[in-house]
């Protein structure tokens, strides 16, 4: 039988080994895309890039920024994500706060109605027909209203209100004649900044990465969000209008794929470190059965 210390040492060696392999598997594709996006298109095409950029250039980025549909896509996505997240947060708070109050008669009924939709839904076709009959097809409304509340987020928020805002504080404010809405705005929301940050991240990233609703509800290309523009470049291979000469065009349309991935992902990855310390908390709250 090996000694205790030997066992520890061997085990730590194993842990670090597996952890390093995991780290490499996760990071390598990301580093590769980043390097290729700054590389000479010819080096990208002949496969001489393994880790670091070859023939440093900003040309692929210049081509991306010359592309008009990327600019409109970016602007549209910024609008959908901004307005959409605002609506998300407002509606989620409006539902989560009353339902967090144990003194509200009938809260179980509302809670049941809301939770039930997590497990059964009308599905794609009836929802599509509804949005259509509401006249939202080909309008920005279709990008904001049908997804106005994510039930999971609502439950996380309600659990936060229930567990992290002292009831005594709310009761004494109420006894002092503070109305419920004032109580929510003046006392509860200022104490809920971490969960609000998490919600902004969850909803915001959701909007940033959304594409399917745009695919079925939007016809006009001027309304397309960034992800649909990306889909044309990355998946449908339609970036022909970008390059100049024939062979150069083929090379550049490959190279631009890397830079467009970076350009479209950077905003999300930039805000991520700032909110990162909050979201672990957010997911943890979600795991508490409420």
């Amino acid at each position: 039988m090996p000694s205790r210390a030997a066992d520890e040492k061997w085990f730590n060696f194993l842990i670090y080994g597996i952890a390093t392999i995991t780290l490499v598997i996760v990071l390598y594709p990301l580093v590769f895309v980043l390097s290729a996006s700054f590389s000479n298109p010819e080096k990208v095409a002949d496969g001489s890039i393994w880790l670091l950029p070859q023939g440093l250039t900003l040309e692929p980025y210049r081509k991306v920024f010359e592309n008009e549909s990327i600019w409109t896509g970016y602007a549209n996505t910024l609008f959908y994500a901004g307005a959409g997240t605002l609506v998300n947060i407002a509606l989620t708070v409006m539902a989560a706060y009353p339902l967090s109050r144990k003194d509200l008669p009938g809260r179980q009924i509302f809670m049941f109605l809301i939770t039930f939709t997590m497990f059964f839904s009308g599905g794609l076709i009836p929802t599509f027909l509804l949005v259509k009959s509401l006249g939202m097809i080909n309008t920005a409304w279709a990008m904001i209203v049908p997804g106005a509340i994510a039930t999971y987020n609502l439950i996380v928020m309600r659990t936060f209100f229930q567990t992290s805002i002292p009831v005594e504080l709310q009761e004494s404010a109420w006894l002092d004649g503070c109305s419920n809405i004032r109580l929510l705005i003046r006392i509860v929301l200022p104490l809920s900044k971490p969960i609000l940050a998490v919600m902004v991240l969850f909803y915001g990233v959701g909007h940033w990465n959304a594409w399917f609703n745009a695919l079925i509800y939007l016809k006009d290309e001027h309304l397309y969000p960034l992800q649909l523009v990306l889909r044309e470049i990355l998946i449908l291979n339609q970036s022909d209008d970008i390059g100049a000469g024939m062979s150069e065009r083929v090379l550049m349309s490959e190279s631009i794929k890397y830079s467009v991935i970076i350009v479209s992902s950077v905003p999300v990855l930039l805000i991520y470190p700032f909110i990162q310390k909050y979201f672990v908390q957010g997911v943890m709250i979600g795991s508490i059965k409420g």
Binding site: T22, A95, P105, N209, V283, S287
Partner: protein, 302 residues
Amino acid sequence: MQGKLLRRMLTRYDLYLLLLVPMVWYIVFKYYPMYGLQIAFKDFSPSQGIWDSSWVGLKHFDRFFSSYYFWQLLWNTVSLSLYSLIVGFPIPILLALLIHETPSRKFKKWLQNATYMPHFLSLIVIIGMLNIFLDPITGMVNRVLAVFGMDPVDFMRKAEWFQTIFVGSGVWQNMGWGSIIYLAALSSIDPTLYEAAKMDGASRMRRIWHVSLPGILPTIIILFILQIGSWMDVGFEKALLMQNPINAERSDIIATFVYKTGIQEGQYSYTAAAGLFNSVVDFILLLLVNGYARRKTESSLW
């Protein structure tokens, strides 16, 4: 007594007022589509509307179940979900244990932040990256195969590779995110349990087995129930993005069929029936697994 309840409600009228808008939203965008599901039993025509279209009983279900593609769609859906479950479910648990056991705090942080990151990339970017890395000529994977003298494989257009690529990239993207909830559960285990096990001479491996795993078992069960409850719903958007005419024999699942035949071809009643079949199977699975978990263990959704 009743007067008291009414007074309690009246003094809190502003809370109901707050609830009003979200509840209207739930009724319109969640419950009205459930009402709209009746078109699965009708011949829906847009001019007549949902209510006035004529009833046709189970016609659409009959047609769907007896169509030549039904069994293939069902098998593609069920097997993709099973594959995702077998591979995708345990890996976040293993990753959480790995992170938990990593002695260096700094390394731990690195591991966490790096593995969470891909979760924030869009599906379009993920499929774009798959296209790049798996390209038959310029792709990294085929370049490595070439080094070993193997023939290039057009992975994204091979039906037999579809499920593996689907599940593998899913693990790459979501294992870190999925591990957060287990890490939270691990950190709430009473440290004295580890101390006691150590005193008894248990090795690190045995401590994981006898302390860590039982400690996070309730979380595992809850997440397992949730995953079973969305069995038929597995990664529809991703399957659609990865689909091409060549791999369709494996990548066509019920949900992508509903999209193509319903939204694109306008066969609303027929595909509403197929969609309802999906939802009902999921709902029944959820009830069964939850019921079983409630009887056999102490953890269940309700």
